[in-house]
C-alpha cells in the first residue's frame, strides 16, 4: 500500500496544504471501506496520509477544567483512562471488539461521522468541541456543529482533526445503552447516552443524545431546557409523556438490514422514559 508517512504534525499539515490525502490512523473504518479481494491491498481514492504514529496526535490530559483527548488516541486507551468520564468509557467498551479498539482511534470515529458512531452520543452530551488544524489555521467547533450528515462533517481537505475536548460534568445520574444485534462486533441498532444532575430535588442539568436514529446523532437542547430547573416532583406522567412525544418529532430512524425504524424509535423513546423515571424519587 502506498502512502505518505509524515514524521511530525507540521509535516502532515504541510502535506495536506499541498494536495488531497485521506488521513488514516487505525484504519478500522477505512481499510474496510476500501477493501478489495483478499490478498490485495485496499484501493484508496486518494493517497493515504498515515498519522497513527505521530506522538503529538496521541494522549489524554486534563487541562484546567477540561479533558483533552488527541485525535489519534486509541479507543482502548480512552476506555482505560481514569481521566475520562464513565459515559464515554462505557460507550467505547461496547464498541467492536478488543482487537479493533486497540487499533481504532477516537478521531477516526468522529471524522467517520456515521450516524451509528458509538463515541458520538456521549461526546454530544458532553458538549465536546473538536479542534481542527491546518497549516495556517486552528478552528474549534462543537461536535454537533462539526457533524453535518451521515459521513459528512466540516473538515476541509487541508485540515486534520487534532483533538477533542470537553468539561467533565458533575452529574448525579447517567445512562448509556447500546442496542446491537449481539454483544461484540455489532453496529448499533441504536444507542442512548444521557446525563442529569439533581440536587435537593432540583434538576439542574439534563442532557440526552441518541445514536443511529437520524442522519446525525440527535441532541435537542430546547427540550432539555424544559426538563432543566424542574423539581423532580414535577416529573408527572403527563410531563414525561409530553417530553417523550417531543423527542418523537426528532427521532426519525430508517429501516435497514440491522433493524426497523419502528423498533429504533420505540426503543429510543422507551429508554428516554426509563431515564426520566430514574430521576423521580422512589
Amino acid at each position: 500500500m502506498e502512502g505518505l508517512i509524515p514524521e511530525s504534525l507540521d509535516e502532515a499539515l504541510e502535506a495536506l496544504s499541498e494536495r488531497k490525502f485521506i488521513p488514516i490512523a487505525g484504519g478500522t473504518d477505512l481499510m474496510v471501506r476500501y477493501k478489495r479481494w483478499k490478498n490485495l491491498p485496499p484501493s484508496f481514492p486518494s493517497l493515504p496520509l498515515f498519522i497513527g504514529h505521530i506522538a503529538e496526535l496521541s494522549g489524554i490530559e486534563k487541562k484546567d477544567d477540561e479533558i483533552v483527548i488527541k485525535a489519534a488516541t486509541l479507543l482502548s486507551e480512552i476506555e482505560q483512562s481514569p481521566l475520562v468520564p464513565s459515559i464515554l468509557r462505557k460507550a467505547i467498551s461496547q464498541m467492536a471488539a478488543p482487537g479493533i479498539r486497540n487499533m481504532g482511534t477516537i478521531g477516526g470515529n468522529i471524522v467517520n461521522s456515521s450516524p451509528a458512531g458509538d463515541t458520538l452520543p456521549p461526546l454530544y452530551v458532553l458538549d465536546a468541541k473538536v479542534v481542527l488544524l491546518s497549516k495556517n489555521e486552528r478552528r474549534c467547533l462543537f461536535i454537533y456543529d462539526f457533524i453535518t450528515g451521515p459521513g459528512k462533517n466540516q473538515r476541509r481537505d487541508d485540515e486534520l482533526l487534532y483533538e477533542v475536548r470537553f468539561k467533565v460534568p458533575k452529574h448525579t445520574h447517567e445512562m448509556y445503552r447500546k442496542v446491537g444485534t449481539r454483544k461484540a462486533n455489532a453496529l448499533s441498532k441504536l444507542s442512548v447516552a444521557a446525563l442529569a444532575s439533581s440536587r435537593d430535588g432540583k434538576i439542574d442539568d439534563f442532557r440526552i443524545g441518541f445514536g443511529a436514529v437520524a442522519p446525525t446523532p440527535v441532541r435537542v437542547k430546547s427540550i432539555e431546557e424544559k426538563v432543566k430547573s424542574r423539581h423532580v416532583s414535577e416529573l408527572s406522567d403527563d410531563f414525561i409523556n409530553e417530553i417523550v412525544n417531543e423527542y418523537g418529532e426528532w427521532i426519525k430512524p430508517i429501516d435497514d438490514q440491522r433493524s426497523t425504524a419502528l423498533y429504533r424509535k420505540t426503543v429510543a423513546l422507551r429508554l428516554l422514559r426509563a431515564f426520566l423515571l430514574q430521576l423521580k424519587p422512589v
Binding site: V32, W37, K38, L40, A97, R177, V179, T181, R182, K183, A184, N185, A186, K189, Q257, R258, S259, T260, L262, Y263, T266, V267, R270, L271, A274
Partner: protein
C-alpha cells in the same frame, strides 16, 4: 455386541490432526498453488428471473491474461442435481452448469478463467449480457400459480411427486388412523403456524476447488467436499469424462455442516482444466458463500394437535410443512420429509396422525443440506405444541415429555412409512436414554426452582424452557462406508477409509474404534481418508452417519485384522486360536506361558514363513438408523423494555450411545447448540424486493461471538446401542434442533408470549410484547 470395559474407546484422546492444525501446517484447498494455475470467477445474475437474450464475451476475452470465458453455449448442458447424495439421488435433476435462464439474484451467468483472480474479476465487468426479465416469485405460498422456475425438461430419477410446471419440487403424504375422528375425540384441539428462516452454515472455510492433470493424464480434483465419491460420480456424468480418469481428494476441511455436501464448484474447475490442460482453482468469497452456495431451507409448519384432558393422550396430530427450496431443488424432498420422519416418531403412541409436506421453487437462494436437515424446522412447532398441551393439562412439561416419548423396545410406524426418497425402514428402539437426559438436564438448569417463577430484575424477566429431540444415525439401507487396513513391520496399521473428516474428528474416532478392536493404541493407527484412488468407497460425511456407518466398517475391518493376527500367532506359537488373547499390541497364551508381539507377528508374516500381507477390507451398511436423543434446556432473560432475549444458561443432555471420544462429543453438542442459538436469535437473510441478499457478509449477518455464548453444560447420558460400533450412535446434528423451541418455551415461561417466527429478534419480541401485552 455387548458393553464391556474399553481401553481406547470412551477416552478423550487428542484429535490426531490437532498439532498440525495448531501449528498451521495443514493445507486447506485455498492454500494450494501450482505453477500456471488459472483462477476462476463467476458472473452472477442481477435479476431474480430472466432469460439471457444475448451475451457478448468478446471484450472480456481480449483482456490480456484472460484464458477462457464460458457461457451456457460453451458448456455441457447435462441436467443434474448438485446434491451430493447417493445414486439415484432423491433430488430433482433441474440444474445445468450454466443455463440460458437464470433463476435468482446470484445465479450463474458466465465463468471466467484467467491468470490471476484480479484479471478474472476485471473480465466479468466486460461481459455484456442482455436479459429479458421474467415474472418472479419470492413467496413459497404463491409458488403454484407463479411462472415456472425449473427448466421445462427437469426430471426426477425416483418415482416421486415432481411437478415442475407447478413449481412443486417434492411432496410427501403420510397418514395412519383417522385424524378427523381423533380431533373429535379430543377434549381440546390446539393449532398454530410456525415459520423458520433462511440461514447460512457459516463454515469458517469458504467453498473452494482445485483441478489439475497429473503426469498420467488423469484429472485430479481437490475440493472442500463432504462427499468425495459423489463428487467423482457427478462430475464424471455432468462432463462426460470417464470415471476412471478422475481422482477426487478431500484435504483438511474447515467445517461443512451440510453446505459442502453440494457439488457445484468441482465440475467447473474440472471443466476449465479439461479445456485448458492447466491447473485451475476457485475460492468463494464470503458473499458468494451466502448468496450462491447453499442455505438452510426456510419452512412454514402448521400443527394441529388434539388431546384428552384426563390422560393427556394426544388423540390426533396433523402437520403440514411448506418448504421453500429456492431456485433449485437439491435436498428438496428429503429435508422436507425429515421434518416429519425425524420428528413425529418421538411421541410414538399417537394413533391418528397425518403429515403432508410440500417443497416449492421460488426465485431465491438455493436451499441444501444443513445440520438438522428438516428436523430443526419440524421440532420448533412440535416442542412448542407439546409445551402448550402440557400447560393446558396443568402438568409439568417434563412429566408430559417423560410419559409419552418413545422408549427402548418400542417402535413407530413412521420409521417404516417415511424414508429418504423411498419407503423407510422399520426399526425397534434398542437404546434410549431420553428420560435420563430430561431428568439430568432439569437438575442442571434448575428447572423446579425456576419454572413459572418469572424472576424479575428491573426490566428483565427470567424464564426456563425445554425441548426434546431425536435424529438418526445414517440413512438405513442406503448409506454405505468401507474401510481397508494393513499391518506394517513395526506393528502399526494403515487405516484407509472413504469417510470424510470435515473437522468433526472422525479420523480420530475411527482410529479409536480400530485400535480398540485390534488391541493396540491409537498412535499405531495411520489414518488416510477420503481419496477416491486410495481409499475404499464411503458415501461421505452427512446424515450423522460417520461414526455409525463408517465406524461400523472400521470395526468389521479391525475384527478381520485381529483374526488374521491371531492366525499367524497361532501358527508361531503352535497353540489353538482360543488359547490366545491380545493385550496392548501383544498376543498372549491364556496360560501365561508364551507371548509374541505384533511386531514379531508381522515380521514373521512378511519375511519368515507363509509370507503374506496381513490386511482386510470391510463394508458396512446401516440396516437401521438408531436415533440419538437429547433434552435441551434454556434459561433466558427477556428485557421487556427493549425486547432483547439473552440466553443465561443452556443445557444439552444427550444420549448418543457409547461416546467414542467424550470431548469430541461435547464439542459437537456445544457447536450445534451455539449454531442453534444463533439461528434462534439473530441469523437471517435480508432480501430486497427482487430477492437480492442485502446482508451477505459477516458484517451484517451476525453469528454468536464468544461474548454472546452463554454458559453451556453438556451432559452425556451414556447408553449402549447394540447395532453401533462399540455401542455408539450419532451426535453431530441433533443439538441444533432444540435451541429454537427451548428458547421459545422459556420466553413463554418468562412473559407469557408464544413466539412462532424465528429469529426472535428484539424487533419481533418487542412487537409481540406491544401487541399481546405481557402477563407477569
Amino acid at each position: 455386541m455387548e458393553n464391556r470395559e474399553f481401553n481406547v474407546v470412551g477416552k478423550s484422546i487428542k484429535k490426531i490432526d490437532a498439532l498440525a492444525l495448531a501449528t498451521g501446517e495443514v493445507k486447506f484447498t485455498a492454500d494450494i498453488e501450482m505453477p500456471g494455475m488459472l483462477h476462476i470467477a463467476f458472473l452472477y445474475s442481477p435479476h431474480p428471473h430472466a432469460e439471457i437474450v444475448d451475451i457478448d464475451t468478446e471484450e472480456a476475452k481480449n483482456i490480456p491474461g484472460v484464458v477462457l470465458v464460458l457461457t451456457y453455449r460453451d458448456v455441457p448442458d447435462t441436467l443434474h442435481t448438485t446434491a451430493g447424495q447417493g445414486y439415484p439421488e432423491p433430488s430433482p435433476y433441474d440444474t445445468r452448469i450454466l443455463d440460458k435462464r437464470v433463476r435468482f439474484v446470484g445465479d450463474r451467468v458466465a465463468i471466467v478463467a484467467a491468470e490471476t483472480k484480479e484479471i478474472a474479476e476485471e473480465a466479468l465487468k466486460k461481459i455484456k449480457v442482455k436479459y429479458r426479465e421474467l415474472p418472479y416469485n419470492l413467496d413459497p405460498e404463491k409458488a403454484e400459480e407463479s411462472e415456472q422456475i425449473p427448466p421445462e425438461d427437469a426430471y426426477h430419477l425416483l418415482p416421486t411427486v415432481y411437478e415442475p410446471s407447478k413449481n412443486l419440487a417434492a411432496s410427501v403424504e403420510l397418514s395412519f388412523g383417522d385424524v378427523e375422528k381423533g380431533f373429535s375425540d379430543a377434549d381440546f384441539v390446539l393449532e398454530e403456524r410456525f415459520e423458520v428462516q433462511y440461514a447460512n452454515h457459516c463454515a469458517i472455510e469458504p467453498h473452494a476447488a482445485v483441478a489439475f492433470y497429473d503426469e498420467r493424464g488423469r484429472l485430479n480434483i481437490i475440493s472442500t467436499t463432504q462427499v468425495p465419491f459423489h463428487v467423482r460420480r457427478i462430475v464424471s456424468r455432468v462432463l462426460g469424462i470417464p470415471l476412471k480418469n478422475l481422482r477426487v481428494i478431500k484435504p483438511r476441511i474447515g467445517g461443512g455442516f451440510g453446505g459442502k455436501q453440494e457439488v457445484f464448484l468441482e465440475q467447473v474447475v474440472a471443466l476449465v482444466t479439461y479445456m485448458t490442460k492447466r491447473p485451475s482453482k476457485v475460492v468463494f468469497s464470503r458473499k458468494e458463500v451466502f448468496v450462491s452456495s447453499r442455505t438452510r431451507h426456510p419452512m412454514i409448519t402448521w400443527y394441529k394437535v388434539g388431546a384428552k384432558r384426563d390422560t393427556g393422550e394426544i388423540t390426533s396430530l396433523y402437520l403440514k410443512a411448506l418448504m421453500n427450496a429456492g431456485a433449485y431443488g437439491p435436498h428438496a424432498l428429503t429435508v422436507m420429509a425429515n421434518a416429519g420422519s425425524k420428528v413425529l416418531p418421538l411421541f410414538n403412541k399417537i394413533k391418528n396422525l397425518k403429515f403432508e409436506g410440500f417443497s416449492v421453487y421460488t426465485n431465491l437462494p438455493v436451499g441444501g443440506a444443513y445440520r438438522g436437515y428438516g428436523a430443526t424446522q419440524g421440532y420448533f412447532g412440535y416442542n412448542v405444541m407439546l409445551d402448550m398441551i402440557a400447560e393446558k393439562l396443568g402438568i409439568d412439561t417434563l412429566e408430559f415429555f417423560k410419559k409419552w416419548h418413545i422408549k427402548k423396545g418400542e417402535t413407530s410406524p413412521i420409521f417404516e412409512e417415511l424414508g429418504e426418497g423411498k419407503e423407510g425402514v422399520s426399526q425397534i428402539i434398542r437404546s434410549c436414554g431420553l428420560s435420563e437426559c430430561i431428568e439430568k438436564g432439569a437438575k442442571a438448569i434448575g428447572w423446579y426452582e425456576k419454572r413459572r417463577k418469572r424472576i424479575k430484575n428491573g426490566d428483565k424477566v427470567r424464564g426456563v424452557g425445554a425441548a426434546i429431540l431425536m435424529q438418526g444415525s445414517g440413512i438405513p439401507k442406503i448409506d454405505m462406508g468401507a474401510a481397508y487396513m494393513k499391518m506394517n513391520e513395526d506393528g502399526s496399521f494403515n487405516l484407509h477409509i472413504g469417510a470424510t473428516d470435515i473437522g468433526t474428528g472422525s479420523d480420530t474416532i475411527l482410529a479409536q474404534i480400530a485400535a480398540e478392536e485390534i488391541g493396540t493404541s491409537v498412535d499405531k493407527i495411520i489414518v488416510y481418508s477420503s481419496d477416491t484412488d486410495f481409499t475404499p468407497f464411503d458415501v461421505g460425511a452427512y446424515a450423522s452417519s460417520t461414526t455409525y456407518i463408517s465406524g461400523g466398517a472400521v470395526l468389521k475391518c479391525a475384527k478381520k485384522i485381529r483374526k488374521e493376527i491371531l492366525k499367524v500367532a497361532q501358527e508361531m506359537l503352535n497353540v489353538p486360536e482360543d488359547a490366545l488373547y491380545i493385550e496392548n499390541g501383544t498376543v498372549y497364551t491364556r496360560d501365561g506361558q508364551q507371548k509374541v508381539s505384533f511386531q514379531d507377528i508381522v515380521i514373521y508374516s512378511l519375511y519368515t514363513k507363509n509370507q503374506h500381507q496381513i490386511q482386510a477390507v470391510a463394508s458396512h451398511i446401516g440396516l437401521e438408523s438408531p436415533p440419538p436423543f437429547m433434552a435441551q434446556f434454556a434459561e433466558i432473560e427477556v428485557d421487556i423494555r427493549i425486547g432483547r432475549i439473552e440466553v443465561i444458561k443452556f443445557v444439552s443432555a444427550v444420549d448418543c450411545g457409547k461416546p467414542i471420544n467424550p470431548v469430541l462429543v461435547e464439542g459437537q453438542v456445544e457447536g450445534a447448540t451455539v449454531n442453534g442459538i444463533g439461528y434462534a436469535l439473530w441469523e437471517d437473510y435480508v432480501f430486497d424486493e427482487k430477492g437480492r441478499v442485502k446482508n451477505a457478509s459477516f458484517w451484517d449477518y451476525k453469528i454468536p461471538s464468544i461474548r454472546d455464548i452463554p454458559e453451556i453444560e453438556v451432559i452425556i447420558c451414556e447408553t449402549y446401542e447394540p447395532t453401533g460400533p462399540h455401542g455408539a450412535k450419532s451426535v453431530a446434528e441433533i443439538g441444533i434442533n432444540g435451541p429454537i423451541p427451548a428458547i421459545a418455551n422459556a420466553v413463554y415461561d418468562a412473559i407469557g408470549i408464544r413466539l412462532t417466527k424465528t429469529p426472535f429478534t428484539p424487533e419481533r419480541v418487542l412487537k409481540a410484547i406491544k401487541s399481546q401485552g405481557i402477563k407477569l
